[in-house]
């Protein structure tokens, strides 16, 4: 066996196996993962059975605001579209906005946090001042004004969510970076000749990543909520179907006064279930990765 072969062998696999095994022992985490997998699958497969015929208000043929029945499991909306089709179709944009916003949040937050934690001088101080400034800004009005400036639509909502939520990640990463940098292996790396970039990328980042992963699953949940909020407030693309826009049109089409609970509840419950799924998954990963939490429920 050569050294190179030896590198790819058991320990890392073992660690992965250990991770999977302890994750499997957490029923709540499994349930969360199952929910997410189901929604993900539905969202991905949606184009196979939902198309223009079901979504275009001009082409649909169903009755208006009809309650649940055999042919329309969750009833129909003002235009006669099947609610269950809308909920499934809406998951596509809600999930993708949530996930893309989270990726942006994590990238921005991790970069700022890492730099602020590593460079202790004016760079770090400056970055933390900017972060504090963003924390102090009320996030909803900021998101609304951003979405207003950037124009309505998915892209501006995604950016608005990312801009208002990266600060939490930045704070978290900075704190963890400070903790990691105090450890002797960073000194050793420096004595071996590592520069700032190498220390950040090779030593600090790998030790910060698990924490970021955990927090990002929770960020997805809040990003989906923010998306629904912003769309509900009318900042989304009026032509696209998301859970937030369903809630908004249900509200504006008078579903409440008409007593059309089947129009109002499904998107809300879908949001609830997905957010719960992400939260349960995140908590489970957190417990598995953080040895100090082992044994606590």
């Amino acid at each position: 066996m050569t050294v190179e072969e030896g590198r790819l062998s058991p320990p890392r696999l073992n660690a992965a196996r250990r991770f999977v095994r302890s994750y499997l022992e957490r029923p709540a985490g499994l349930a969360g993962l199952g929910v997410l997998a189901a929604f993900g699958l539905l969202a991905l497969c949606a184009p196979l059975f939902i198309g223009d015929a079901q979504l275009n208000v001009i082409k649909v043929t169903g009755p208006q605001l009809a309650g649940p029945s055999g042919s329309y499991l969750l009833g129909t909306d003002q235009a006669g579209r099947s609610i269950i089709d809308l909920v499934i179709w809406g998951s596509r944009e809600s999930l993708s906005i949530g996930i893309i916003a989270t990726v942006l949040t994590v990238l921005l937050g991790t970069t700022v946090g890492l730099l602020a934690g590593h460079y202790e001088g004016w760079v770090g101080k400056g970055l933390m001042h900017v972060t504090d400034w963003f924390i102090a800004l009320p996030s909803l009005p900021l998101a609304i004004s951003l979405a207003a400036v950037l124009g309505r639509g998915a892209a501006s909502i995604t950016i608005a969510i990312a801009v208002t939520s990266w600060t939490a990640t930045a704070r978290l990463v900075r704190a963890q970076t400070l903790a990691v940098e105090a450890r002797p292996f960073v000194d050793r790396a420096r004595a071996l000749g590592a520069g700032n970039t190498q220390i950040m990328l090779r030593h600090v980042l790998p030790n910060v990543t698990p924490l970021v992963l955990v927090s990002s699953t929770l960020t997805v949940a809040s990003a989906i909520l923010s998306e629904a909020t912003l769309t509900f407030l009318g900042l989304g693309d009026p032509t696209s179907v998301t859970w937030g826009s369903m809630l908004q049109s249900a509200f504006s089409d008078g579903a409440v006064t008409a007593g059309a609970w089947w129009y109002l509840l499904p998107p809300g419950i879908a949001i609830l279930i997905v957010v719960l799924g992400f939260t349960l998954t995140g908590r489970a990963v957190e417990h598995v990765l953080n040895p100090r939490m082992v044994g606590r429920s």
């Binding site: 030896g6 590198r7 000194d187 000749g193 520069g195 090779r202």
Partner: protein, 329 residues
């Protein structure tokens, strides 16, 4: 005359003042030389500045004044020059568990130095040779392990292997065995000795342990509150200590010579933010306390500053004390 492998001249390192106290003079004027192929032990109690001195030697701390010289050339603190310097001088830290990144396996930990310096042509061979030299045999058995899968002694060998991978000429070891079991301690010390014999490495070993100095060092320097108070060959310093501080340290060893009465150091533990005037050891010095009247006045330990020891390695011993005659060649 040979050029010393590593030398410090009039080194001073001062940390800025904090919370109403004065600036901390961690290292306050030190001359020290490590000759080629020589092992020097730097002994002192915690807080005396020995770790700061060690970190300055590998360029991790920039001196406030004075110089660090590697083979006669003063250290240049530009990033590029420092990186070049770091191929030659390596640091071994006290806590091997903490000195290894928990997410790197042994191969990556040892290969880190060569990779940083772009020496990746024969990386496998370099790593294997370094592990073998550090006593991890066969190396293949260890390359895939992670730090938590090894014992403390093995971890320290990995750290040493990582240092050897750059083919250094000097190793600065800061308490290399303090956190290891007694049985492993001897093995690591033997390893350092054999590296000197086989590869001609020079080493500065920082420790609070006089026994360690006796076992591996050629010369010993005793540090007190930022200054070296006594230095010389191991035999001179440990068998015929002259400075009252060294004598006090040695007198409390269980198997020290019978005719020494144990001297317990009284008074304040040293504080680098408030260094006493005159001889910095005088508030705790038994010899000074025993003096009275005109003798005490004549000695003047509390008034007269002591010169900084020259660090000349050809002297058998050097002592910084008003009450003890200075150099013995």
């Amino acid at each position: 005359m040979n050029v010393p492998a590593l030398e410090v001249r009039d080194l001073k390192i001062t940390y800025p003042a904090r919370r109403g106290r004065g600036p901390a003079r961690a290292v306050d004027g030190v001359n020290l030389r490590v000759e080629q192929g020589e092992i020097v032990a730097l002994i002192g109690e915690s807080g005396c500045g020995k770790s700061t001195l060690a970190r300055a030697l590998v360029g991790l701390v920039k001196p406030t004044s004075g110089q660090v010289l590697y083979q006669g050339t003063p250290l240049n603190y530009s990033a590029k020059a420092l990186k070049k310097y770091r191929r030659h001088t390596q640091l071994v830290l006290q806590d091997p568990g903490g000195a290894l990144n928990p997410r790197q396996n042994v191969f990556d930990a040892v290969a880190e130095g060569p990779r940083l310096h772009g020496l990746t042509d024969r990386l496998n061979e370099t790593v294997r040779t370094s592990l073998t030299r550090a006593g991890l045999r066969p190396p293949e058995e260890f390359t895939a392990r992670f730090p938590h899968e090894m014992s403390g002694g093995q971890q320290q060998r990995v750290v040493i292997a990582g240092a050897l991978a750059l083919d250094p000429s000097v190793i600065v070891a800061d308490e290399p065995v303090a956190s290891l079991d007694a049985s492993v301690r001897g093995e690591i010390l033997k390893l350092i000795l054999s590296l000197r014999d086989d590869l001609g490495l020079s080493a500065l070993v920082v420790s609070h342990d006089l026994g360690l100095a006796w076992n591996i060092a050629d010369r010993v320097a005793v540090m007190y509150l930022g200054r070296i108070v006594e230095m010389g060959t191991v035999e001179e310093v440990l068998l015929r200590p002259r400075h009252p501080y060294t004598r006090a340290l040695l007198s409390v060893l269980p198997d020290s010579a019978k005719d020494w009465r144990p001297t317990l150091l009284a008074g304040e533990p040293p504080d680098p933010t408030a260094i006493p005037s005159g001889c910095r050891f005088h508030p705790r010095c038994g010899n000074w306390a025993a003096l009275s009247g005109p003798d005490r006045e004549a000695a003047g330990c509390d008034r007269r500053d002591l010169p900084i020891l020259s660090g000349d390695p050809s002297a058998l011993t050097l002592t910084a004390c008003h009450l003890v005659p200075g150099e013995h060649v």
